[in-house]
């Protein structure tokens, strides 16, 4: 009985950690621009696919991984430079729609250049499952959870302790005021896309050995990541992680104890409840509108 619960928990935390990584990407760009970047799922996909393609060229895995992260960061940069920036001071909604367009372009390009097949990466530390109190866990799951924890800590340091990070937060709060105190808001936005692109790639690469990767994997992960980000409170790093893990565990518990048929409905029920009672999410910043 206990081992069963533990197994559900492991399953939930592994999946939840991938949701959390996706949600963090949403949080960064939202912090910098107030835009919800619907191309985030494609960053995850691009990272995984690029790593697979580079490894297939014969590059050692670590090199392929670093290059794939760089490629995806570059993709983020290009999207910002050629899709977001030309829109100038457009409202948030048109910008969101631009990101949807960008996601379709990325998905299409990958489909054409890297094919429609499903690919896998070798696990970083072998495939031998670890047995813990009657439940099993793949070493790759520990990688996912571990790296997610490191990323969260790094981001917390970046936003809380560095000038650049603080500049980003300032830009999200008030762009005009940020410009007036000498922050280059344009470069802040650029940086946010590069950062979330690279972050997405890390997530995509980490989960590729567990879940496989294909040109269309970004849609569902992006959606779940968005749900996790909203659940935790948009823009909050801690919220993104808690939201992601909560979502993953909830799905696993639903599949295990109720029925797998309801698994995918649960997160959406949960998000309706949360948004109804706590519209800013679990950890969302309180905003005060001056009338």
């Amino acid at each position: 009985m206990l081992s069963q619960l533990l197994q559900f928990l492991f399953s939930g935390l592994t999946v939840g950690a991938t949701y959390a990584l996706a949600a963090l990407g949403f949080a960064i760009i939202y912090n910098a621009s107030g835009v919800i970047n619907f191309a985030q799922g494609e960053f995850i996909m691009l990272g995984g696919m690029a790593a697979v393609a580079l490894a297939a060229l014969g590059l050692p895995l670590p090199v392929a991984i670093v290059l794939a992260v760089a490629v995806t960061g570059l993709a983020g940069l290009l999207i910002e430079k050629f899709a977001i920036e030309p829109a100038g001071r457009a409202d948030v909604v048109p910008l969101i729609i631009i990101t949807i367009g960008a996601s379709l372009v990325v998905r299409g390009l990958v489909q054409v250049t890297l094919g429609k097949g499903t690919h896998s990466l070798p696990a970083f530390s072998g495939e031998q499952p670890l047995a813990i109190a009657g439940a099993t866990l793949l070493p790759q799951s520990l990688w996912v959870v571990g790296v997610a924890a490191v990323v969260v800590a790094a981001l917390a340091w970046f936003f809380g302790r560095t000038a650049r990070g603080k500049a980003m937060l300032a830009t999200s709060h008030n762009r005009l005021a940020a410009e007036l105190v000498g922050i280059s808001t344009r470069s802040v936005l650029l940086l946010s896309f590069v950062l979330s692109g690279a972050l997405g790639a890390v997530g995509g690469i980490l989960v590729a050995p567990l879940t496989y990767t294909s040109y269309d994997m970004g849609i569902m992960l992006g959606l779940k990541g968005f749900v996790a980000a909203t659940l935790g409170g948009l823009g909050s790093g801690l919220g993104a992680v808690v939201g992601g893990l909560l979502l993953g565990v909830l799905e696993a518990m639903t599949a295990g104890y109720i029925s797998s048929a309801y698994k995918d409905a649960m997160p959406f029920v949960l998000i309706l409840l949360v948004l109804f009672f706590m519209p800013r999410g679990l950890f969302g910043a309180k905003t005060i509108d001056r009338v």
Binding site: Q4, Q7, F8, F10, S11, G12, T14, V15, T18, K116, G117, T118, S120, E127, P129, T136, L138, V207, L210, T211, Y212, S214, D216, M217, I219, M220, L221, E251, A252, M253, A255, G256, S259, S260, A261, K263, D264
Partner: protein, 383 residues
């Protein structure tokens, strides 16, 4: 989206000299195709179009059919069933095709069906579900096996091994749900009780929760997974992770080398029903299907440097069934072709032996499937 002229004109240019005089000056036989060569079902539709193009060129090179050349008019429905209907209308009204090879997916086929029935033009579908030919529609035929046959083949093997209590884990995709429905429907016929009935999403990244639940069911003797693409590979990996020991059966949805590549070592011991194409080389030398499947595999490899898929084989069978019917009908009169199709007997295709009749517009039986087991990273035929 329209690609007919390219192929035919290229062939006309290159082979005009070589063609027998009879093939020139007569109207070509026009074959209309609506396939899903882009979108989610592209991995099905893409090899189908390639197969049609390759074999059409070959037939024309050999002098065509009844002294007439074949011409392919092709539209891509982009995996959207709703679009298929419009293209079928265009093929019938504007392109005036003689035969339709159309419908990569069941949805697309069913969307075209009413129009095709009204227009009275023979259509050979490449989609899987039973509903395409049951109840029988006068003008509609199909070449792929049905999901019900896959379930029956699996149950046949289970019965032989004395397995009676089976857990079902199906994908929430159209393929998985239709398969699960047929599985539930035929289980009793083979004396099998479904002791668990769980689902997973096609893009799910972890199914250990479902498997843990299934493992806890008392007396369970085997697990049957009905899904397509990467999902079943995730299931297989999780199954190995949890150390489950009951035999694992998969459906024909994973009958491709990609499955072994994705699932790796975890795939060892997995059993599944598959068309002969996948094990072309392992077939006995006297197997009646062997020459056909090996030659298809070789032709496809030569042209595209890629392994042929079962899905492409469906298109080849459709084309050859159509050609054979046109030959026997002595022309392209629609009713004559339709009734010739219906009278097809003992026709050997890549999918199996077709014996069509007025009440069976598919004409395959369970012998079209072979039971395979994954051993040492390859497929082994089970007796």
């Amino acid at each position: 989206m329209k690609k007919r002229t390219l192929i035919t004109s290229a062939i006309a240019l290159v082979f005009a000299q070589a063609l027998p005089a009879a093939a020139q000056g007569k109207d070509p036989i026009r074959i209309g195709a609506v396939l899903s060569t882009t979108g989610p079902a592209a991995y099905l539709g893409d090899p189908q179009l390639k197969t049609l193009q390759t074999y059409l060129a070959q037939i024309n090179q050999d002098g065509g059919v009844l002294g007439r050349k074949l011409e392919l008019v092709h539209y891509d429905d982009a995996s959207e069933a709703a679009k298929a209907n419009g293209f079928a209308k265009r093929l019938i009204d504007d392109d005036k095709v003689d035969l339709l090879i159309a419908g990569t997916t069941t949805g697309a086929t069913m969307a075209m069906a009413p129009l095709v029935e009204k227009a009275g033009i023979p259509l050979i579908s490449l989609s899987g579900a039973v509903v395409v030919v049951e109840p029988v529609k006068k003008w509609i035929f199909k070449t792929p096996h049905t999901d019900r046959m896959a379930a029956e083949k699996v149950f046949e093997d289970m019965k032989k091994r004395g397995i009676t209590k089976v857990g079902l884990l199906s994908e929430t995709s159209g393929f998985g749900q239709s398969g699960a429905k047929e599985t539930r429907a035929v289980a009793q016929k083979y004396g099998i009780t479904l002791v668990a009935d769980e689902t997973y999403g096609p893009k799910d990244t972890d199914v250990t929760a479902q498997l843990t639940k299934i493992r806890a069911v008392p007396g369970i003797q085997a697990l049957f997974v009905f899904g397509l693409g990467q999902g079943p590979a995730v299931v297989t990996k999780n199954y190995a992770q949890l150390g489950l020991t009951v035999p694992l059966y998969q459906s024909h949805g994973v009958a491709s080398n990609e499955f072994i590549r994705l699932a790796g070592k975890a795939a060892e011991g997995v059993r599944l029903p598959s068309p002969a194409l996948l094990v072309a080389n392992a077939l006995a030398a006297n197997d009646p299907q062997k020459p056909l499947v090996t030659s298809y595999a070789a032709t496809y490899w030569k042209q595209y440097k890629d392994e042929p898929s079962t899905f492409g084989g469906y298109a080849l069978d459709a084309l050859m069934l159509g050609v054979s019917a046109i030959k026997r009908a002595g022309g392209t009169t629609k009713e004559a072709v339709r009734s010739a199709l219906e009278q097809t007997r003992g026709f050997m295709g890549t999918t199996g032996q077709f014996n069509l009749s007025a009440t069976d517009h598919m004409g395959l039986d369970l012998s079209a499937f072979r039971m395979l087991e994954v051993r040492d990273g390859g497929w082994t035929l089970l007796k």
